[in-house]
């Protein structure tokens, strides 16, 4: 109810009410006990919106109340009449409700993720500035940012940050959280204010104490919202930081999941890289994006010669992208596909509802004609139908409300790993207005569908109606054509949806069969990060990792232990450029880029990677600047040639010693199962601050979790293990997005199929019922039951076929929407496009067979007697 509460009570009052309720709750708890007080609080929360609504209704003037009372009477009458046909009512309310709710829920998600501006002041003017090395877009290096700081004529404010996972250790407990190291200009650029204390200022960049600003959720979670938190210190990665402020509550993508901010103290760089810095800037209102790009390119061109020794990629330049597109990425097509799917289900549900109501109206033809003959006006009849559609729509809307809330919860719970900005999704007033709008449109469709036969019935002559007993005379050609068109439309909408569901399923199946390249069933991996304060230099880190390997290799059940900064199938430590001795980059071209994996010598055997040529890395590889490459790398740069002994300059550094390829191993997926292999280089891992521990066991890798934790605690209690996963879990986790999409579209595809089948069954059952007398006569005159069966099935399939043909055409037209979501299967896959229509025809035939069998088994004698 909290969303309803927030919708009908002003923000300021809501805070006051919550505060008063909290105070009363405390008093009740003291007098009546915890349980009773909680029950009281729950009741208060539920009753609040009802009190407000009651109060507003009392304010409606008397005339309005009279009008509402008439409407109420009509609605009650319609509700009673609908309750007499519970199966039909429940079908319409549930199917239209599910369609309405799911569509509204998806609209709420799309609104928050794709449509709403980022929740920052003047968010449209904030841009991400990146190194443009097409097709890649890199972050900035500190060198880039320092140069940008000096020269940014197109931007009013610029700032930078680096995100990292850090260890907060207090009282022997280590906690891994995400932190952002930000420049003093960051908060002024974001125009954010403190809730407590102060935020960083440009003067904080230049030195002084190490300071931190907490985000409001972390302040509440870790410090219980203590207002005296300012001035306290916390140990972050082994260093002491003083808390100087708490940021106001913010749920934008740049704060989402962040525990705190520290003032950036980046050391002066000795070379151009590494590229870990996110630079953001506010475009001046009087400068266009094109003009800004020109200034960025000019600054970069001036910077390039200064750092040529460590970065030769002359073609790489700077670019800008608005922050929202950067944050949202390519998730748009997934969301739009999901919305299209639910909208199809809603339309099918409406078509089905109309069909069912037409059947109902036709069955009531006599009743309506008699009422007409007794003086009921056409207006009164329309009013009644309107009220009936109103009752159905109200029911469907209530179901839709629950389904919409459920959809939002489902998407925000299971989609967090691959859909950004989900923390901003709300069941807001605008979303409820959309639900209302969709409900009104659906209600009008249902009303209009039911109107045709009802109007027909008022035109009928009383004597005709009473004379015709077995067959309704209200089934005019208009109503029949409408019902047939609706069934065809249902199949036309269901076909592309089912095609899409099959395609994403095939795509998931192909992804499941992609070779990761390692023996995932026997390995366990876990992330470890060394705090900079405790392990400040290469020697201390090298010594610790050596000790770690020695300890882990002695753990019972561990066959091999290794370290690597990347984890298959979707965590590549870094991508880096290089210059091959035998394939120098032509002037003006980009240097080649591939994944570089820092690995200890034991890594290859630990993950079960086979050596194909040369030898693996060993203890001397670091001194000798040796690397191992994979098969994909060989195919990309030296297909069919010998690569062992080839040399390159790492990171394009021309003054550095040559790096030599000493071996070739099999290809491993590091950039995701659906990403083409572009080659990987393995270099000796020695002193990196963060890594994955890789353990190989002959038994169940999950059984190593507890001994691993214990061993790491013994090695250093300040360290926390993160992202612990067996090899198989890692693969499974990397498929969460396609699996999610498959379940989503599959679910809606199934719903569309069921509704369409119900639709064709309903029409054919009605067809048989209407023609009972004709069929009886034909059977009495010697007609074959098989011929009757064929007639019904043929009639049904004729309707369905038209819809499926249109549906297949729609599937071809909308294929482009699916292309980015598929892997290893074409959006116009000929097998799918052929087999889905055939399967649909088969299912429709089964649906038609039930009424067809009834037609064939009719007893002509009893039918003729009855008529």
């Amino acid at each position: 109810m909290s969303w309803l509460f927030s919708l009908i009570v002003r923000d300021a009052d809501r805070r006051a009410i919550e505060s008063d309720l909290a105070e009363l709750f405390e008093l009740k708890r003291r007098t009546d006990g915890d349980r009773a007080a909680r029950r009281w609080l729950r009741r208060q929360r539920v009753l609040y919106p009802l009190h407000v609504i009651g109060d507003r209704l009392r304010a409606i003037p008397a005339f309005g109340r009279r009008l509402m009372s008439h409407l109420w009477r009509d609605l009650v009458y319609s509700a009673r009449s609908l309750i007499r046909t519970p199966a039909l009512t429940a079908t319409i309310v549930l199917t239209v409700g599910v369609g309405l709710g799911a569509t509204t829920g998806m609209l709420a998600v799309i609104r928050a993720v794709l449509i709403n501006p980022l929740p920052y002041a003047d968010a449209e003017s904030i841009f991400w500035i990146y190194t443009d090395n097409a097709p890649y877009r890199f972050r900035f290096s500190v060198v880039d940012y320092r140069a940008f700081e000096q020269d940014h004529p197109a931007f009013s404010d610029i700032a930078a940050y680096q995100s990292s996972r850090v260890t907060v250790s207090e009282g022997g407990e280590a906690d891994r959280v995400t932190a952002k190291s930000v420049t003093g200009s960051y908060f002024p650029l974001m125009r954010q204010r403190p809730l407590l204390g102060r935020l960083f200022e440009p003067k904080d960049d230049t030195g002084g104490d190490r300071i931190a600003v907490l985000t409001a959720p972390y302040w509440r979670r870790r410090f219980g919202g203590d207002p005296n938190v300012l001035g306290r210190t916390m140990t972050i990665d082994g260093g002491r930081y003083t808390i100087v402020g708490v940021l106001e509550p913010a749920d934008g993508p740049l704060e989402n999941g962040v525990a705190f901010f520290t003032a950036a103290r980046w050391p002066e760089p000795k070379r151009k890289g590494p590229f870990f810095t996110m630079a953001i800037a506010r475009l001046r209102p009087d400068v266009s994006e094109t003009a800004a790009l020109t200034t960025l390119k000019a600054t970069n061109a001036r910077l390039f010669p200064i750092w040529r020794s460590s970065y030769q990629d002359e073609k790489a330049t700077w670019g800008l992208q608005d922050l929202k597109s950067r944050v949202v990425g390519d998730v748009g097509s997934t969301l739009v596909a999901a919305l299209a799917a639910v909208a199809c289900v809603l339309l099918i549900a409406c078509a089905n509802a109309v069909n069912l109501l037409i059947a109902r109206a036709l069955n009531r033809g006599r009743d309506l004609a008699i009422r007409g003959a007794l003086g009921a006006s056409r207006g009164r009849l329309i009013q009644h139908l309107l009220a009936e559609s109103g009752v159905l729509t109200i029911g469907a809307t209530l179901v839709g409300l629950a389904v919409a809330a459920g959809t939002v919860v489902l998407v925000t719970t299971y989609g967090t790993t691959f859909i950004p900005r989900l923390s901003e999704v709300r069941m807001s007033g605008a979303v409820l207005a959309w639900l209302g709008g969709l409900a009104i449109v659906s209600g009008l469709i249902i009303f209009a569908g039911g109107l045709v036969p009802a109007l027909n019935s008022t035109r009928l002559r009383m004597d005709h109606v009473l004379r015709s007993s077995g067959r309704s005379t209200t089934d005019g050609p208009g109503a029949r054509r409408l019902r047939h068109a609706l069934v065809a439309a249902e199949f036309a909408l269901a076909t592309p949806l089912i095609v899409a569901a099959v395609l994403v399923l095939l795509s998931l199946q192909r992804l499941n069969h992609v070779e990761v390249g390692i023996d995932t069933a026997r390995i366990l991996t876990a992330g470890v990060s060394l705090p900079g304060g405790l392990y400040p230099d290469e020697d201390s880190r090298r010594e610790f990792w050596q000790r770690t390997l020695t300890r882990l290799e002695t753990l019972p059940g561990v066959e091999r232990a290794a370290l690597a900064d990347s984890r298959p199938p979707d965590d590549a430590g870094q991508s880096n450029n290089f210059e091959l001795e035998d394939r120098p980059t032509p002037p003006g071209q980009n240097q080649p880029i591939c994944i570089w994996v820092g690995a200890s010598p034991g890594f290859f055997k630990a993950v079960g990677l086979r050596l194909e040529r040369g030898r693996l890395l060993d203890a001397q590889s670091l001194q000798n600047d040796e690397v191992v490459v994979d098969r994909a790398w060989v195919q990309r740069f030296f297909p069919g040639e010998e690569v062992v002994g080839r040399r390159m300059h790492q990171g394009g550094c021309t003054t550095c010693p040559w790096t030599t390829v000493v071996g070739v191993v099999g290809t491993v997926k590091f950039a995701g199962l659906d990403t083409p292999d572009r080659g990987t280089i393995y270099y000796p891992f020695v002193d990196l601050p963060a890594t994955y521990v890789v353990l190989r066991t002959p038994g169940d890798p999950a059984s190593l979790v507890s001994p691993l934790r214990q061993a790491m605690r013994e090695l250093d209690p300040n360290l926390a293990l993160t992202d612990i996963a067996t090899g198989d879990e890692g693969v499974s986790d990397s498929l969460v997005a396609p699996r999610y999409l498959t379940v989503l579209i599959g679910m809606f595809g199934a719903a569309a199929l069921i509704l369409s089948v119900v639709g064709v069954y309903g029409v054919m059952a009605y067809f048989v019922q209407q023609r009972t007398r004709d069929i009886g006569i034909r059977l009495a005159l010697g007609g074959e039951p098989a011929a009757m069966r064929r007639m019904v099935v043929k009639q049904g399939l004729r309707l369905v076929l038209g819809g499926i043909v249109v549906g297949v055409a729609a599937a071809f037209l909308t294929a482009r929407l699916l292309t980015t979501l598929l892997f290893g299967v074409s959006a116009t896959d000929p097998w799918t496009m052929t087999l889905v229509p055939i399967a649909l025809m088969a299912v429709a035939m089964i649906a038609c067979l039930v009424p067809a069998r009834r037609a064939a088994s009719l007893d002509p004698a009893s039918i003729l007697r009855e008529s």
């Binding site: 300021a12 006051a16 909290a22």
Partner: protein, 105 residues
Amino acid sequence: MALQHFELHVLLAMLRHGSETYSVPLVLELEKRTARPVAQAAVFIALGRLEKKGLVVSRLDEPKGGRTRRYFKLTRQGLAAVKAHREEHSRLWRGFSRLAKSIKA
């Protein structure tokens, strides 16, 4: 000024409580006096209605790190409305004992 029954209760509770108050003391006061549970929502909404009628005024208090409260204060018209109600009721109740006795008899 037409006053609903509950609105009058709230105004009387406000009078008892003093110059400026918020919903919690009023809920407690009303629960004590009427000996039945009173919903905080009912009190807050009634206060809102009274404010619209000009019988009370309110201000929002949001101290940093403290509780947010909306404080309400009776206006001169509010006091006048209570007095007018009392007089009206007194007139209606006048002679009640005699009338009740005559009905018994």
